[in-house]
């Protein structure tokens, strides 16, 4: 069972601000899903099994380090909600922590 406190902690990590109603639902629904997911505990000791993070065996893929044009700044800024002085404008992060 995922408690309301755990839901709030995870939401904070994920930068989500959930409504009261959503907190309630998440706690219920995620607990149910996790109960199902926890069946993988039945598989017992997996210490000898290598994890798979990727299915294709590709090594680092490199290209020649040759200069080439990148996305022009004007185009990169075109979709931004707010632009100022050639950059993305955001609200203040607030006073520096003491």
């Amino acid at each position: 069972m995922l408690s309301r406190d755990q839901v709030l902690h995870v939401a904070r990590l994920a930068r989500l601000e959930l409504t009261e109603d959503e907190q309630e639902r998440m706690s219920e629904e995620l607990s149910k899903v996790l109960d199902h997911i926890e069946k993988i505990a039945e598989l017992g000791d997996l210490d000898d099994v290598e994890p798979t993070s990727h299915v294709v065996a590709v090594e680092n893929v490199l290209r020649a380090d040759e200069p080439r044009p990148s996305l022009p700044a004007g185009i990169a800024l075109e979709s931004a909600p707010e632009v100022d002085m050639g950059g993305f404008r955001v609200p203040s992060p607030g006073p520096a922590p003491a």
Binding site: I40, P51, V58, P81
Partner: protein, 474 residues
């Protein structure tokens, strides 16, 4: 014109090449159909202005294509079914789409989908659900539900989608069309708005197997912009096989028994009989860890999603919450207002699985289960050419039937999640009807076996001779 619109894409291309069909008229016919669509298949349809340049001599001969919303298309809304990307027009086009355009398939429309490809019914779209053209009270499946419904209805000659845990094959099955999930790495992911990067793969949704081969061949290939793309060992060949002699089909008992509806199983077993008549050896096999696929998938995919979706913060593109004067609240409000319920649920699940104290028990363990599932398939390939299953546990369900029960929705992916976890290709073809609705038959093969897989699917398709799809009505 309605005659031409009831041709498969390959047949239309052949007529164009022979000078018997004007590609401009075909374009106009489909554009009008797409604009008149009443199943909410599309999030954008090409305007009625000047038609695009249509090259009769190009490999795809000017037959237009519909593209899932999450593929970036330069200057054309690409919103991944999410309100957080409302109105977003990317500055570049996804490699796979560019390849199709270069091969002579102009962009007809963008198709509706579950938000960020998270869902199995297209009900999670921020732009309203897509309806199943077989029965408008039912879902088309998902997440590529708009692409599947458009092809089934005949509003588009063919379409592309993406498959992370079944998002091409499941809607193809529920709409009575063909859907191919290629080997991971066969098609570039560059310009695909990411869900779960180690699983996401683009592929075709088409009226028949020949169309699937033709479209897949045009979109596949190594791409310097996607370092995980490896391309194909050889060219995609158009399937021509008419028997299955010498082929061994494995029927995994774990995916063909409990939890599958009786009507779906009846169609599955009838198709196995067809396979035997065509000369295949059909034998039971084991995929002992496949039942744990859902658990592994619903840890790995949300974990990757929670990281991929961190980019939606209201800074560089898309939606930003109004009237907020500090940065942290801007982030949290933007995400709270911009994401739908299922996306929040998956971000929460993934963040939890990756969080301190839970990582080893959840994410780490899921990656090991992924290895075990891959090993099950490797063992199967020692005895079998392909593994076959029903594509989905049931037929298309009613709108709203599973929206309040996430677990019931997730279990729709039971037969389709093991393949992307193993990175292998799989195709769904229509095999018959249950309750008057289409049933999908799935064949999965070893990595890069697409040519053989398409050939076997083609032989079965010819023998099954499924003639019910709405697009045939012209």
């Amino acid at each position: 014109m309605s005659d031409a619109l009831s041709l498969t894409a390959a047949a239309a291309a052949a007529r164009i090449r022979a000078g018997e069909l004007d590609p401009g008229e075909l374009w106009q016919g489909y554009r009008e159909r797409a604009a008149a669509d009443d199943c909410n298949c599309f999030t954008w349809v090409a305007g009625d202005g000047e038609p695009p340049a249509l090259d009769r001599a190009a490999p795809l001969a000017g037959v237009p294509v519909a593209v899932k919303d999450l593929f970036c298309t330069k200057g054309v809304p690409s919103q991944a079914g999410s309100r957080i990307l409302e109105g977003y027009r990317p500055p570049y086009t996804a490699t796979s789409v560019e390849r199709l355009m270069d091969a002579g398939a102009p962009l007809l429309a963008k198709t509706n989908q579950d938000e960020f490809a998270m869902g199995s019914s297209t009900e999670n779209s921020g732009y309203g659900p897509t309806l199943n053209p077989w029965d408008r009270t039912r879902v088309p499946g998902g997440s590529s539900g708009g692409s599947a419904a458009a092809v089934a209805a005949g509003s588009a000659p063919w379409a592309i989608g993406t498959d992370t845990g079944g998002s091409i094959r499941q809607p193809a099955a529920l709409c009575g069309i063909v859907g191919l999930k290629p080997t991971y790495g066969a098609v570039s992911r560059y310009g695909m708005i990411a869900f779960a990067s180690s699983l996401d793969q683009a592929g075709p949704l088409t009226r028949d197997v020949i169309d699937a081969a033709l479209l897949f061949g045009a979109m596949a290939g190594k791409d310097p912009c996607d370092s995980t793309s490896v391309g194909l060992p050889g060219p995609v060949e158009l399937p021509s096989r008419t028997d299955l002699r010498g082929l061994r089909l494995g029927v995994p008992e774990e995916l063909t028994g409990e939890g599958i509806d009786a009507g779906v199983l009846a169609s599955f077993h009838a198709t196995l009989d067809v396979a035997r008549e065509l000369g295949a050896a059909v034998e039971p096999c084991r995929l002992p860890h496949a039942p744990h696929g859902i658990s592994a998938y619903y840890l790995i995919a949300p974990a990757e999603a929670s990281s991929n979706l961190a980019r939606y913060d209201g800074v560089r593109y898309g939606f930003r919450a109004d009237g907020v004067d500090d940065l942290l609240t801007m982030y949290t409000q933007t995400r709270e207002q911009g994401f739908g319920t299922e996306v929040k649920r998956r971000i929460m699940l993934g963040t939890y699985a990756l969080s301190s104290g839970y990582y080893d028990a959840y994410y780490g363990r899921a990656q090991k289960v992924r290895t075990l599932i891959g090993n099950d398939f490797k063992a199967a390939w020692e005895r079998f050419d392909f593994v076959v299953t029903p594509t989905t546990p049931g037929v298309a369900f009613e709108l709203g039937a599973k929206t309040d029960d996430p677990l019931a929705m997730y279990l729709n992916d039971y037969c389709t999640v093991p393949m992307p976890l193993a990175g292998i290709p799989a195709i769904s073809i229509p095999s018959g009807l249950s309750e008057g609705l289409p049933v999908g038959f799935q064949l999965a093969g070893p990595a890069f076996s697409e040519n053989a897989l398409l050939d076997a699917a083609y032989a079965l398709e010819q023998a099954i001779d499924f003639r019910h799809a709405p697009w045939r009505r012209g």
